[in-house]
Amino acid sequence: MKRDDFLKHVAWTGAGVAWTLSSSGLFESGRAAAAGEFSFVQISDSHIGFTRPENPDVAGTLRATIDAVNALPLQPAFVVHTGDVTHLSKPEQFDSAKQLLGGLRAPAFVLPGEHDVIGSPAAFAAAFGRKDAPDGWSSFDRGGAHFLALVNVFNFEIDGKLGSDQIAFVERDLAAQKSSTPIVVFAHVPLYAAFPPWGWTTEDGARVLAALRRFDAVTVLNGHVHQVLQHTDGNIRFATAASTAYPQPAPGAADKPGPLKVPAGRLLSVLGYRSVEFVGPAAVVTDRSLTVSSG
């Protein structure tokens, strides 16, 4: 087992949320998933169209991610892509991303990142718009949990803003949920202040977090920062996801954010995806790199 295989290994206690790690690309924590159990997968930040040396084959690494997800022994109920599916919002980049994501066995939906709405959200909406989410955001129930899929990249001058219409939607939506219902929230930019100097925050995220306080267990899953960052705030567990394209520096570890070059042999170890299983009320979150363990 190689240490490179590990993206994160954190076990949380309380509120029934456990974070585990698998090194081999398979879920093998000793608690094999029973048939019929519910899981979903998060992938993020594929940047289709990116051609720089940090990853000259972003289509290839997205394809590798999709292959790994398709090979999971427990197929996810759905796959969410939490944004920056393209690098520059170009139609051909959306076409390519859509074609690649079409290779997933599980149904998938995509939330936009700021790289997907350059100039206008029209190209994103044409490729990945959903009838059940005319404004871009939505909620749904699945596997005993309640999900909110939010968009915080639609503001013209601020990346990381939900806006009053969306916040009102969230407040109305959550008011109808029982406090014991597990809540899962998706959005591209971190909903908490992960690192504001680099824009890794949602300006009006606190209003949504306030509406999430009364629930027993809340899991907020974001992208944008191209690495797994974890944060706990009372009943709310936050985790950003690895990119399928290239890593970025840890907060404050460089002058600026941006693509981080790692030795070619290490790239797959810093790219990855995440699966989340519900075992009863507990969400088990597993981050996996694209490295195939050599055992």
Partner: protein, 101 residues
């Protein structure tokens, strides 16, 4: 005027025949220089020297480069006098302005 004629003599002419009055480099997540002053009708060129993609997007929406990948160049002609603040839509804390006399 001196700047214009020296650039024109140096052969820095846009395809429209207009001289490029100023060049702004996008470098290390900043526009440099952050403020440029040109004359009405002048053309300003933006060069993305960063490893990261950026945009040049007017606050008043009067111009927008769309996504500029690393190494890309984009130009805009400023016909009307005024002050035009702009930002990068991907990193909105990156700010600059063009003053047109």
């Amino acid at each position: 005027m001196k700047i214009l004629s020296s650039l024109a003599m140096a052969g820095v002419l846009a395809s429209t025949g207009q001289p490029v009055a100023a060049t702004v480099h996008v470098r290390n997540f900043a526009f440099s220089p952050a403020t440029v002053t040109v004359r009405a009708g002048d053309r300003v060129t933006f060069v993305n020297d960063d490893d990261e993609a950026h945009t040049v997007t007017a606050v008043d929406k009067s111009f927008d480069s769309q996504g500029l990948d690393a190494g890309d160049t984009w130009s805009h002609t400023f016909d009307e006098p005024g002050t035009y603040p702009y930002f990068c839509a991907l990193h909105p804390y990156m700010r600059g302005e063009v003053i047109v006399k």
